[in-house]
Protein backbone atom coordinates (compact mmCIF):
# COMPACT_ATOMS: atom_id res chain seq x y z
CA UNK A 1 0.00 0.00 0.00
CA UNK A 2 2.93 2.24 0.68
CA UNK A 3 3.84 3.45 -2.76
CA UNK A 4 1.29 2.55 -5.34
CA UNK A 5 2.62 4.12 -8.47
CA UNK A 6 -0.35 5.08 -10.53
CA UNK A 7 1.14 6.26 -13.82
CA UNK A 8 3.17 4.00 -16.00
CA UNK A 9 5.74 5.05 -18.53
CA UNK A 10 3.48 5.24 -21.55
CA UNK A 11 0.34 7.13 -20.56
CA UNK A 12 -1.61 6.43 -23.73
CA UNK A 13 -1.34 2.68 -23.74
CA UNK A 14 -1.95 2.80 -20.08
CA UNK A 15 -5.01 4.95 -20.52
CA UNK A 16 -6.69 2.62 -22.94
CA UNK A 17 -6.04 -0.32 -20.70
CA UNK A 18 -7.36 1.52 -17.71
CA UNK A 19 -10.49 2.65 -19.49
CA UNK A 20 -11.18 -0.91 -20.46
CA UNK A 21 -10.60 -2.14 -16.99
CA UNK A 22 -12.83 0.52 -15.51
CA UNK A 23 -15.60 -0.30 -17.95
CA UNK A 24 -15.28 -3.95 -17.14
CA UNK A 25 -15.47 -3.25 -13.49
CA UNK A 26 -18.53 -1.13 -14.04
CA UNK A 27 -20.16 -4.06 -15.72
CA UNK A 28 -19.47 -6.18 -12.66
CA UNK A 29 -20.98 -3.48 -10.53
CA UNK A 30 -24.20 -3.56 -12.52
CA UNK A 31 -24.40 -7.32 -12.21
CA UNK A 32 -23.85 -6.98 -8.50
CA UNK A 33 -26.60 -4.46 -8.34
CA UNK A 34 -29.03 -6.69 -10.16
CA UNK A 35 -28.27 -9.51 -7.77
CA UNK A 36 -28.83 -7.23 -4.81
CA UNK A 37 -32.18 -6.14 -6.11
CA UNK A 38 -33.01 -9.76 -6.73
CA UNK A 39 -32.19 -10.74 -3.16
CA UNK A 40 -34.18 -7.85 -1.83
CA UNK A 41 -37.19 -8.84 -3.84
CA UNK A 42 -36.92 -12.40 -2.61
CA UNK A 43 -36.83 -11.21 0.97
CA UNK A 44 -39.90 -9.05 0.49
CA UNK A 45 -41.79 -11.75 -1.30
CA UNK A 46 -40.94 -14.28 1.35
CA UNK A 47 -42.41 -12.02 3.98
CA UNK A 48 -45.38 -11.05 1.86
CA UNK A 49 -46.38 -14.67 1.31
CA UNK A 50 -47.04 -14.97 5.01
CA UNK A 51 -47.10 -18.75 4.96
CA UNK A 52 -43.61 -19.65 6.07
CA UNK A 53 -42.83 -20.21 9.68
CA UNK A 54 -40.79 -17.39 11.12
CA UNK A 55 -38.18 -19.91 12.18
CA UNK A 56 -37.53 -20.37 8.51
CA UNK A 57 -37.99 -16.85 7.21
CA UNK A 58 -35.88 -14.97 9.67
CA UNK A 59 -32.62 -16.80 9.04
CA UNK A 60 -33.21 -16.71 5.32
CA UNK A 61 -33.77 -12.99 5.04
CA UNK A 62 -30.87 -12.35 7.41
CA UNK A 63 -28.65 -14.46 5.23
CA UNK A 64 -29.78 -12.56 2.15
CA UNK A 65 -29.03 -9.30 3.93
CA UNK A 66 -25.55 -10.48 4.80
CA UNK A 67 -24.88 -11.49 1.22
CA UNK A 68 -26.06 -8.10 0.03
CA UNK A 69 -23.83 -6.31 2.45
CA UNK A 70 -20.87 -8.36 1.35
CA UNK A 71 -21.62 -7.28 -2.20
CA UNK A 72 -21.78 -3.66 -1.16
CA UNK A 73 -18.53 -3.86 0.73
CA UNK A 74 -16.54 -5.90 -1.72
CA UNK A 75 -17.82 -4.54 -5.00
CA UNK A 76 -19.31 -1.10 -4.45
CA UNK A 77 -16.83 -0.14 -1.81
CA UNK A 78 -13.96 -1.97 -3.49
CA UNK A 79 -12.86 -4.06 -0.57
CA UNK A 80 -12.10 -6.86 -3.03
CA UNK A 81 -9.26 -4.78 -4.44
CA UNK A 82 -5.71 -5.04 -3.20
CA UNK A 83 -4.50 -2.97 -0.31
CA UNK A 84 -7.64 -3.34 1.76
CA UNK A 85 -6.15 -5.69 4.35
CA UNK A 86 -5.92 -3.15 7.12
CA UNK A 87 -9.35 -1.85 6.30
CA UNK A 88 -10.85 -5.30 6.39
CA UNK A 89 -9.16 -5.98 9.72
CA UNK A 90 -10.70 -2.92 11.28
CA UNK A 91 -14.08 -3.29 9.71
CA UNK A 92 -14.39 -6.88 10.80
CA UNK A 93 -13.17 -6.07 14.29
CA UNK A 94 -15.91 -3.46 14.42
CA UNK A 95 -18.42 -6.01 13.20
CA UNK A 96 -17.25 -8.49 15.81
CA UNK A 97 -17.69 -6.01 18.63
CA UNK A 98 -21.08 -5.11 17.21
CA UNK A 99 -22.15 -8.73 16.98
CA UNK A 100 -21.25 -9.47 20.58
CA UNK A 101 -23.22 -6.42 21.58
CA UNK A 102 -26.28 -7.57 19.68
CA UNK A 103 -25.93 -11.07 21.06
CA UNK A 104 -25.75 -9.74 24.60
CA UNK A 105 -28.78 -7.57 24.15
CA UNK A 106 -30.73 -10.49 22.83
CA UNK A 107 -29.83 -12.75 25.73
CA UNK A 108 -28.94 -11.18 29.03
CA UNK A 109 -30.61 -7.79 29.11
CA UNK A 110 -33.89 -9.02 30.45
CA UNK A 111 -33.18 -10.59 33.77
Amino acid sequence: MANEQSNSANPNVDLKYRRKKNAEEMKHQVVTFVLMIFFTVISFIAVAMEDFSHWFIKPVILLLAVIQVVFQLYYFMHMKNKGHGTIALFLFSGLAVGLITVLTFLTIVWL
Binding site: D14, Q29, F33, T40, S43, Q72, F76, L95, V102, V109
Partner: protein, 209 residues
Protein backbone atom coordinates in the same frame (compact mmCIF):
# COMPACT_ATOMS: atom_id res chain seq x y z
CA UNK B 1 3.14 18.09 -7.34
CA UNK B 2 0.50 20.53 -6.31
CA UNK B 3 -2.80 19.14 -5.31
CA UNK B 4 -4.94 21.41 -7.45
CA UNK B 5 -2.89 20.89 -10.57
CA UNK B 6 -4.90 20.27 -13.76
CA UNK B 7 -4.88 16.83 -15.28
CA UNK B 8 -5.44 15.34 -18.69
CA UNK B 9 -7.11 12.00 -19.10
CA UNK B 10 -3.71 10.48 -19.55
CA UNK B 11 -2.05 11.95 -16.52
CA UNK B 12 -5.05 11.38 -14.28
CA UNK B 13 -4.00 8.55 -11.96
CA UNK B 14 -5.82 5.25 -11.80
CA UNK B 15 -6.71 5.66 -8.16
CA UNK B 16 -7.03 9.44 -7.81
CA UNK B 17 -8.49 9.11 -4.35
CA UNK B 18 -5.24 7.63 -3.09
CA UNK B 19 -2.71 9.40 -5.24
CA UNK B 20 -1.56 11.90 -2.61
CA UNK B 21 -0.55 11.21 0.96
CA UNK B 22 -3.39 13.44 2.06
CA UNK B 23 -5.82 11.45 -0.02
CA UNK B 24 -4.46 8.21 1.29
CA UNK B 25 -4.82 9.40 4.84
CA UNK B 26 -8.35 10.60 4.28
CA UNK B 27 -9.27 7.39 2.59
CA UNK B 28 -7.94 5.20 5.38
CA UNK B 29 -9.18 7.49 8.13
CA UNK B 30 -12.63 7.42 6.69
CA UNK B 31 -12.71 3.67 6.50
CA UNK B 32 -11.65 3.48 10.11
CA UNK B 33 -14.41 5.90 10.97
CA UNK B 34 -16.82 3.55 9.26
CA UNK B 35 -15.48 0.76 11.46
CA UNK B 36 -16.48 2.88 14.45
CA UNK B 37 -19.85 3.66 12.89
CA UNK B 38 -20.43 -0.05 12.55
CA UNK B 39 -20.20 -0.40 16.31
CA UNK B 40 -22.39 2.64 16.75
CA UNK B 41 -25.18 1.24 14.62
CA UNK B 42 -24.72 -2.22 16.12
CA UNK B 43 -25.35 -0.71 19.54
CA UNK B 44 -28.46 0.98 18.25
CA UNK B 45 -29.66 -2.24 16.64
CA UNK B 46 -28.98 -4.09 19.87
CA UNK B 47 -31.00 -1.55 21.81
CA UNK B 48 -33.82 -1.78 19.31
CA UNK B 49 -33.87 -5.56 19.49
CA UNK B 50 -33.90 -5.48 23.27
CA UNK B 51 -36.80 -3.03 23.34
CA UNK B 52 -38.77 -4.25 20.37
CA UNK B 53 -42.43 -4.39 21.26
CA UNK B 54 -41.75 -3.37 24.85
CA UNK B 55 -44.63 -1.06 25.55
CA UNK B 56 -46.43 0.22 28.65
CA UNK B 57 -49.88 -1.20 27.91
CA UNK B 58 -52.03 -3.08 25.46
CA UNK B 59 -53.05 0.00 23.50
CA UNK B 60 -49.57 0.95 22.36
CA UNK B 61 -48.63 0.07 18.81
CA UNK B 62 -46.41 -2.93 18.13
CA UNK B 63 -44.11 -3.63 15.22
CA UNK B 64 -46.58 -5.86 13.44
CA UNK B 65 -49.31 -3.25 13.61
CA UNK B 66 -47.19 -0.57 12.04
CA UNK B 67 -45.15 -1.65 9.12
CA UNK B 68 -46.35 -2.01 5.55
CA UNK B 69 -44.46 -3.82 2.84
CA UNK B 70 -45.05 -1.53 -0.16
CA UNK B 71 -43.71 1.59 1.50
CA UNK B 72 -40.59 -0.12 2.76
CA UNK B 73 -40.09 -1.76 -0.59
CA UNK B 74 -40.17 1.51 -2.47
CA UNK B 75 -37.84 3.16 0.01
CA UNK B 76 -35.45 0.25 -0.27
CA UNK B 77 -35.42 0.37 -4.04
CA UNK B 78 -34.75 4.09 -3.99
CA UNK B 79 -31.80 3.77 -1.69
CA UNK B 80 -30.31 0.72 -3.36
CA UNK B 81 -30.53 2.38 -6.73
CA UNK B 82 -28.86 5.47 -5.37
CA UNK B 83 -25.98 3.26 -4.40
CA UNK B 84 -25.61 2.18 -8.00
CA UNK B 85 -25.79 5.73 -9.30
CA UNK B 86 -23.04 6.77 -6.96
CA UNK B 87 -20.95 3.88 -8.23
CA UNK B 88 -21.48 5.31 -11.70
CA UNK B 89 -20.36 8.68 -10.46
CA UNK B 90 -17.15 7.22 -9.13
CA UNK B 91 -16.65 5.33 -12.38
CA UNK B 92 -16.64 8.62 -14.18
CA UNK B 93 -14.46 10.18 -11.56
CA UNK B 94 -11.85 7.54 -12.23
CA UNK B 95 -12.09 8.32 -15.92
CA UNK B 96 -11.70 12.02 -15.26
CA UNK B 97 -15.18 12.76 -16.61
CA UNK B 98 -16.27 15.53 -14.38
CA UNK B 99 -19.57 16.37 -16.08
CA UNK B 100 -20.82 12.82 -16.07
CA UNK B 101 -19.79 12.43 -12.48
CA UNK B 102 -21.79 15.47 -11.49
CA UNK B 103 -24.77 14.21 -13.44
CA UNK B 104 -24.80 10.84 -11.69
CA UNK B 105 -24.37 12.55 -8.38
CA UNK B 106 -27.42 14.69 -9.08
CA UNK B 107 -29.36 11.53 -9.67
CA UNK B 108 -28.02 10.04 -6.46
CA UNK B 109 -29.06 13.09 -4.53
CA UNK B 110 -32.50 13.06 -6.05
CA UNK B 111 -32.99 9.44 -5.04
CA UNK B 112 -31.72 10.25 -1.57
CA UNK B 113 -34.21 13.05 -1.19
CA UNK B 114 -37.01 10.83 -2.35
CA UNK B 115 -36.03 8.28 0.25
CA UNK B 116 -35.95 10.91 2.95
CA UNK B 117 -39.35 12.24 1.91
CA UNK B 118 -40.82 8.76 2.17
CA UNK B 119 -39.34 8.33 5.60
CA UNK B 120 -40.81 11.60 6.80
CA UNK B 121 -44.16 10.60 5.41
CA UNK B 122 -43.85 7.25 7.14
CA UNK B 123 -43.03 8.72 10.55
CA UNK B 124 -45.86 11.17 10.18
CA UNK B 125 -48.19 8.35 9.34
CA UNK B 126 -47.22 6.36 12.44
CA UNK B 127 -47.67 9.34 14.69
CA UNK B 128 -51.09 10.23 13.37
CA UNK B 129 -52.57 6.85 12.62
CA UNK B 130 -51.16 4.84 15.51
CA UNK B 131 -50.13 7.45 18.08
CA UNK B 132 -46.80 5.73 17.91
CA UNK B 133 -44.42 8.49 18.94
CA UNK B 134 -40.90 8.93 20.22
CA UNK B 135 -42.24 9.21 23.75
CA UNK B 136 -45.14 6.77 23.70
CA UNK B 137 -43.19 3.63 24.59
CA UNK B 138 -39.70 2.23 24.88
CA UNK B 139 -40.33 0.55 21.54
CA UNK B 140 -41.19 3.92 20.04
CA UNK B 141 -38.04 5.53 21.40
CA UNK B 142 -35.87 2.72 20.11
CA UNK B 143 -37.52 2.61 16.71
CA UNK B 144 -37.31 6.32 16.02
CA UNK B 145 -33.79 6.52 17.35
CA UNK B 146 -32.46 3.72 15.17
CA UNK B 147 -34.31 4.62 11.99
CA UNK B 148 -33.92 8.33 12.71
CA UNK B 149 -30.17 8.00 13.16
CA UNK B 150 -30.07 6.41 9.76
CA UNK B 151 -32.26 9.14 8.32
CA UNK B 152 -29.96 11.71 9.87
CA UNK B 153 -27.05 10.05 8.15
CA UNK B 154 -28.90 10.23 4.84
CA UNK B 155 -29.59 13.91 5.36
CA UNK B 156 -25.98 14.59 6.28
CA UNK B 157 -24.79 12.63 3.25
CA UNK B 158 -27.01 14.70 0.99
CA UNK B 159 -25.69 17.95 2.42
CA UNK B 160 -22.20 16.68 1.98
CA UNK B 161 -22.68 15.76 -1.67
CA UNK B 162 -24.39 19.05 -2.40
CA UNK B 163 -21.73 21.19 -0.83
CA UNK B 164 -18.99 19.26 -2.59
CA UNK B 165 -20.70 19.64 -5.94
CA UNK B 166 -21.42 23.31 -5.51
CA UNK B 167 -17.93 24.06 -4.31
CA UNK B 168 -16.25 22.24 -7.14
CA UNK B 169 -18.78 22.97 -9.89
CA UNK B 170 -16.47 25.35 -11.70
CA UNK B 171 -13.06 23.94 -11.16
CA UNK B 172 -13.49 20.30 -12.05
CA UNK B 173 -11.56 17.37 -10.71
CA UNK B 174 -8.15 17.47 -9.17
CA UNK B 175 -6.22 15.45 -6.67
CA UNK B 176 -7.39 17.70 -3.85
CA UNK B 177 -11.09 17.06 -4.28
CA UNK B 178 -11.09 13.59 -5.81
CA UNK B 179 -10.59 11.93 -2.40
CA UNK B 180 -13.39 14.08 -1.03
CA UNK B 181 -15.83 12.85 -3.65
CA UNK B 182 -14.65 9.35 -3.15
CA UNK B 183 -15.13 9.22 0.60
CA UNK B 184 -18.50 10.91 0.31
CA UNK B 185 -19.55 8.06 -1.92
CA UNK B 186 -18.11 5.53 0.54
CA UNK B 187 -20.26 7.15 3.18
CA UNK B 188 -23.25 6.81 0.92
CA UNK B 189 -22.62 3.10 0.46
CA UNK B 190 -22.29 2.67 4.16
CA UNK B 191 -25.68 4.28 4.65
CA UNK B 192 -27.00 1.75 2.21
CA UNK B 193 -25.40 -1.11 4.11
CA UNK B 194 -27.09 0.04 7.27
CA UNK B 195 -30.38 0.28 5.49
CA UNK B 196 -30.11 -3.29 4.29
CA UNK B 197 -30.06 -4.34 7.91
CA UNK B 198 -32.78 -1.92 8.87
CA UNK B 199 -35.23 -3.14 6.29
CA UNK B 200 -34.40 -6.73 7.11
CA UNK B 201 -34.24 -6.60 10.88
CA UNK B 202 -36.69 -3.84 11.66
CA UNK B 203 -39.26 -4.00 8.92
CA UNK B 204 -39.27 -7.49 7.49
CA UNK B 205 -38.58 -9.30 10.73
CA UNK B 206 -40.95 -6.92 12.49
CA UNK B 207 -43.72 -7.96 10.17
CA UNK B 208 -42.99 -11.63 10.53
CA UNK B 209 -43.49 -11.23 14.26
Amino acid sequence: MHADEKFTDATWPAAPEKATLEGKNKYLGFWLFLGGETVLFASLFATYLALKDKVPNGEAALAKDLFELPLTFVATMLLLTSSLTSVYAMYHMKNNHFKQMQAWLVLTIALGFAFLALEIYEFNHYVHEFHHTFTSSAFGSAFYTLVGFHGGHVAFGLMWFISLMVRNARRGLNLYNAPKFYIASLYWHFIDVVWVFIFTVVYLMGMVG
